[in-house]
């Protein structure tokens, strides 16, 4: 991968010198691991995403690493059974095969899927609310001096308060515990998004603003053509961080609130009740489920990010 990129860079440099020596760049694709030279043009057939993924080395490295990890875990867990010596920490965890068995029981239970549904719903409720309020708020902080002077100090005082410290206040604020959880989740993501948006908007190169200014851009143009797209990468960074925080907060909230009628359930409660009920493999099932859910969510953000910022993923 790296060597291909280096080669491309060299070729690019060589071809640039003067237009007469142009090389067709379109033949090479950043995701392509096959080496494309100037003369050897690959016939243009669009590879599907899937084809690209399974033909890349990093994909197979990842697969091998995951399998290796699972085998290592299996051996460590069963080490005591075989030799009588317990491997620290991992020895106490049920082996993956047992987890798999527990999982195969659980997937037929509607309660498990309901947990997924409840947790995901809460995460997205808090996350989307945080995006809706956080992005304009952050942009306003970055763009308007008066707004920043007034709102930044209180924001900075509230920001270090951990989301979970808001739980009692949240219970007082909102009538149902469902809303309380959503609010705490919202706070977790909100601060992460706002601080990223502010940082991103303020770090936009002044030359872009000046160039636009001297070409006759209005205030609205400056905002929509320069500041907003220039902040987009930071918005997505903030979103990814915020998404991670929402999962943490939701899970903790669910463990605290328990399985009542209102605002109960969810993957957090699933783990906690499995622990109380004494089935450790099920605890691990819950943990891995959260891992998968978090991975899917951040993949979604990355996907949307790459789609909306085509200029970012090139080279």
């Amino acid at each position: 991968m790296l060597s291909t990129r280096k080669l491309l860079k060299l070729l690019k440099r060589a071809s640039e010198k003067w237009p007469s020596a142009e090389i067709d760049w379109e033949a090479s694709d950043m995701n392509d691991t096959t080496t494309v030279t100037a003369h050897q043009q690959v016939p243009k057939r669009k590879k599907s995403k899937f084809e690209k993924a399974i033909s890349s080395k990093s994909f197979w490295r990842g697969v091998v690493a995951l399998i290796g990890f699972v085998i290592f875990w299996e051996i460590c867990s069963r080490f005591k059974m075989w030799t009588g010596i317990e491997v620290p920490w991992i020895g106490k965890v049920p082996p993956p095969t047992e987890v798999l068995v527990a999982w195969s029981d659980v997937i037929y239970m509607p309660g498990y899927w309901e947990s997924w549904y409840l947790s995901t719903g809460r995460v997205f409720a808090g996350f989307i609310a945080a995006m809706v309020f956080g992005i304009p708020f952050g942009l306003a902080l970055a763009v308007n001096r008066y707004f920043r002077d007034i709102f930044f100090p209180p924001f900075e005082v509230l920001r270090p308060i951990p989301p979970l410290a808001w739980v009692p206040a949240s219970i007082i604020f909102w009538p149902t515990s469902e809303l309380s959880i959503a609010f705490v989740t919202f706070l977790g993501a909100f601060f992460a998004i706002v601080i990223n948006v502010v940082g991103g908007a303020q770090s936009i190169d002044i030359r872009y603003l000046r160039a636009a200014q001297s070409m006759g851009a209005t205030q609205w143009h400056m905002f929509s053509k320069i500041i907003l797209p220039g902040t987009l990468p930071s918005i997505f960074t903030g979103a990814a961080v915020g998404m991670g925080i929402t999962w943490e907060v939701v899970l903790a909230g669910e463990m605290i609130s328990g399985g009542g009628q209102q605002g109960g359930g969810g993957l957090g409660f699933f783990i906690w009740s499995s622990f109380m009920g004494g089935t450790v493999p099920q605890v691990v099932v819950g943990m891995i489920s959260i891992g998968i859910a978090g991975y899917l969510c951040s993949s979604l953000i990355r996907f949307i990010g790459a789609r909306s910022m085509p200029w970012e993923r090139l080279f």
Binding site: R210, A212, S214, H221, K225, G230, L232, L314
Partner: protein, 288 residues
């Protein structure tokens, strides 16, 4: 050291209107009462219409401040900057700045970057604008790269795209702020040749700022050597090399003489700043 230059428009062979850029007694001071730094003091400059005026000065002498003032990003404390007699009050598309390194907008393709200005203002017929943009891109050798993002272009290509983006706005004055800085030696040379061809084609009034003497002599009709802070005009060297320019001319005795003169002055000015900034050490005394 005020310089009044008689403007001889007839010299240039073109129908295009050529603007007069003038700075009269311009001063600009930064800092507060406690720590005041005069960057420009009673700065006078008149850029001859249709000429390429190159400003050279030691680093940190206020070249960028000068550019910002002319472009309208900054306002002088006293004095006046005029274009064709009209005072400069803010940024405007009658002056186009080509920035240090490059200021192509990363989230726009080459084509979008080029049409950015006229499209914002909406003052041009769309079809005509597209045609002109394509012609300009072809001229700077970027026709095939019109749908690429700036990050996909090399340094030299970025500068050429930037030139096209400035030219499409039909500015009265072009201001180049060390535009070829950061390019490798070879690309830089090629860009200079390319730029001088472009200039000779329509001879638009041009103020070019650089810290490289070679570049200045190769491009300029007049080289203005700046003195150190507070910045003022130290000397004006009229470059009488024939046009169209060609890199071989730099080896002529004439060019060598220009270079020697400019280098000597610049060295003197740079040394002044060096000595003022640094502590008075033995080594500094020895080179003085």
């Amino acid at each position: 050291m005020a310089i009044a230059n008689d403007s001889n428009i007839s010299k240039a062979s073109t129908v295009r209107h050529q603007a007069v850029l003038e700075l009269k007694n311009v001063s600009r001071t930064f800092g507060d009462d406690w720590n005041r730094e005069e960057i420009l003091k009673d700065f006078n400059l008149s850029v001859t219409p249709g000429e390429l005026t190159v400003v050279v000065g030691p680093s940190g002498c206020g070249k960028s401040t000068l550019v910002n003032l002319i472009a309208g990003f900054d306002k002088p404390d006293t004095g006046e900057i005029t274009i064709d007699g009209k005072p400069v009050t803010g940024p405007g598309h009658d002056r186009m700045v080509v920035f240090q390194e490059t200021a192509l907008i990363p989230w726009q393709t080459t084509f979008e970057n080029v049409v950015f200005g006229p499209k914002l203002r909406g003052d041009r017929d769309k079809k005509q604008l597209n045609e002109e943009a394509h012609a300009l891109l072809a001229k700077v050798g970027l026709r095939e790269f019109k749908d690429k993002y700036p990050i996909q272009l090399s340094g030299g290509m970025q500068r050429r795209a930037e030139l096209a983006r400035a030219m499409i706005n039909h500015p009265l004055v072009m201001i180049m702020d060390e535009p070829f800085r950061g390019l490798d030696a070879m690309s830089r040379e090629l860009m200079q040749e390319f730029f001088v061809r472009l200039f000779e084609e329509n001879r638009r009034t041009n103020l070019f700022v650089t810290s490289e003497v070679e570049e200045a002599i190769f491009l300029a009709d007049r080289v203005i050597v700046l003195s150190n802070r507070p910045t003022s005009v130290r000397t004006i060297i009229d470059i009488k090399l024939p046009r169209p320019r060609d890199p071989h001319m730099l080896n002529s005795d004439e060019a060598r003489e220009y270079r020697r003169e400019a280098m000597e002055l610049l060295h003197e000015e740079a040394l002044k700043a060096f000595k003022r900034e640094g502590t008075q050490s033995e080594i500094l005394k020895s080179i003085a």
